[in-house]
């Protein structure tokens, strides 16, 4: 189940979101339960309804749903219980997981990776991978195990995840690391280039950070425009 959960977004699309990936995991559960190659029409209908959550924390839903399917097969649960569990867990886990993994841990791993790459080269990429996957793989595996062992009781597990507090702590560390990076980058340029960089780098960084989010969402286009303008202006001798 853990390995199959890694394919949750394999056929991600705007219509079905993660539905097909979830069916991919659950169909294997059904085959194990019934020892038949094809799944029942009822089962198929239950697990092809719209599904979307954070892919990493989906492990809790996958484990719990597998357990409930087992109980349903033994006649201890209704099909409605399974559908309620799926839909009630998807939204809170998406909110918690997206905030921690995408909006906090991923950029923090990036900043730390950059800081280390600046001094120790190859270790920067290794740090990024190790730091992120330490949490990523832990929650992938733990989610399936806890979800399967608790079944419907996994709902009570969500507040105990501790990811909100962890987001706060990692966010604080990220702010400190960014401060170090901004000065470090300025110094690196001072050594290789000119003294103004020490002030220019933090100034541009903070000014950009205070601009509206719509500007930051277009950072790729902005960077291309700045790069092209810089290229032309340096070539003709205005900059550099």
């Amino acid at each position: 189940m853990v390995l199959r959960s890694m394919y949750l977004q394999a056929a991600w699309n705007y219509e079905g979101l993660q539905t097909l990936g979830f069916a991919y995991v659950m169909f294997s559960v059904a085959r194990r339960l019934t020892s038949r190659k094809s799944v029942s029409r009822e089962f198929s209908a239950r697990h092809t309804t719209l599904f979307n959550t954070n892919p990493i924390l989906s492990s809790y839903i996958i484990g719990a749903t597998a357990k409930l399917e087992e109980e349903h097969e033994a006649g201890q649960r209704s099909a409605a219980d399974i559908e309620v569990l799926k839909s009630s867990l998807a939204v809170p886990l998406a909110a918690i997981g997206d905030r921690f993994f995408w909006a906090t841990l991923r950029p923090f791993s990036g900043v730390l990776g950059i800081l280390i790459a600046g001094s120790f080269g190859l270790l920067g990429a290794v740090t990024l991978l190790v730091l992120y996957n330490l949490f990523h793989l832990y929650y992938r595996v733990k989610g399936v195990i806890r979800g399967y062992s608790l079944g419907a009781g996994v709902v009570g597990e969500i507040p105990k995840l501790g990811l909100m507090k962890l987001s706060q702590a990692v966010g604080w560390l990220g702010a400190v690391a960014l401060g170090v990076l901004v000065i470090g980058a300025g110094y690196a340029w001072v050594i290789g280039w000119r003294r103004e960089a020490l002030f220019l780098f933090p100034l541009i960084a903070v000014a950009t950070g205070l601009l509206p989010e719509s500007f930051q969402k277009r950072i790729t286009e902005v960077a291309i425009a700045v790069g092209a303008a810089g290229l032309v202006l340096t070539a003709v001798g205005v900059l550099g």
């Binding site: 219509e15 992120y132 901004v182 980058a185 960077a223």
Partner: protein, 235 residues
């Protein structure tokens, strides 16, 4: 032969990283610092990979892939950008490394933007696969999600591989054109690279600092600490 081997390896890495970015694993092999470092190692120029990777990681670290928002194809952009920078650095006549690095970064950004459109095409194909699966399942026919997932994985890999191949071919042609007129490459393009890096750091400022006053203090603490350490270490 060496160039063909490099291109083949980079295209394979492009396919794997394209898979990692959304379709499977999400181990962060697709992060620019990682994919650029991989490209640098493949090309035997790790320092080029690390430098280009740092700049691109700064630009894209703050981009959050929440919901349906299509992201620039950072891994394929990074792999191609590193190859371009390394190729230009090897070309005789390009006096300024900053010129080669800047062109590597700009090409990576442009290819990533083109890649975003190919991601939309991939999602449309996935939607058709999904519809076919649902139609069979709801009609009571035998439906195998494994086959659809395998097809989707193959498409994601092929997208990364082909995009990387096309990008590298286009960049090889541009490198040839540039080599004919290397005179303007003698200048120092470092200021532009610095501004691009600072813009990326600005997006991270928005992610980590902007929404919380207490985090402004943490950021300021980091600034002061780094300033003192750097000053002391320079003396």
């Amino acid at each position: 032969m060496g160039m063909a081997r490099d291109i083949l390896l980079l295209c394979l890495a492009g396919g794997v990283c394209a898979l990692d970015s959304t379709a499977v694993w999400q181990l962060m092999l697709s992060q620019p610092l990682v994919s650029s470092t991989i490209a640098g190692l493949v090309l035997g120029a790790p320092e080029v990979g690390i430098f280009v990777g740092i700049v691109l990681q700064l630009v894209w670290s703050g981009a959050v892939p929440v919901g349906a928002r299509p992201m620039p194809d950072a891994p394929v952009g990074s792999l191609s950008g590193v190859w371009f920078a390394a190729t230009l650095l090897e070309t005789n006549g390009f006096a300024s490394p900053s010129f080669c690095y800047l062109l590597g970064v700009i090409s990576a950004l442009c290819i990533a933007l083109v890649g975003r459109h190919t991601i939309l095409i991939e999602r449309e194909i996935s939607r058709k696969l999904f519809r076919g699966f649902i139609r069979r399942a709801s009609a009571g026919e035998k439906a195998f999600p494994e086959r659809v997932v395998a097809a989707a994985v193959a498409i994601a890999f092929a997208r990364g591989f082909i995009l990387c191949l096309l990008a590298l071919v286009a960049l090889a042609l541009i490198a040839r054109l540039l080599a004919r007129n290397p005179a303007f490459s003698a200048r120092d393009y470092g200021l532009t690279l610095l501004i691009i890096e600072a813009l990326g750091a600005g997006v991270l400022f928005s992610v980590f600092v902007r929404r919380s006053r207490t985090r402004v203090l943490a950021f300021a603490g980091g600034l002061v600490w780094a300033f003192l350490v750097m000053n002391l270490s320079q003396r």
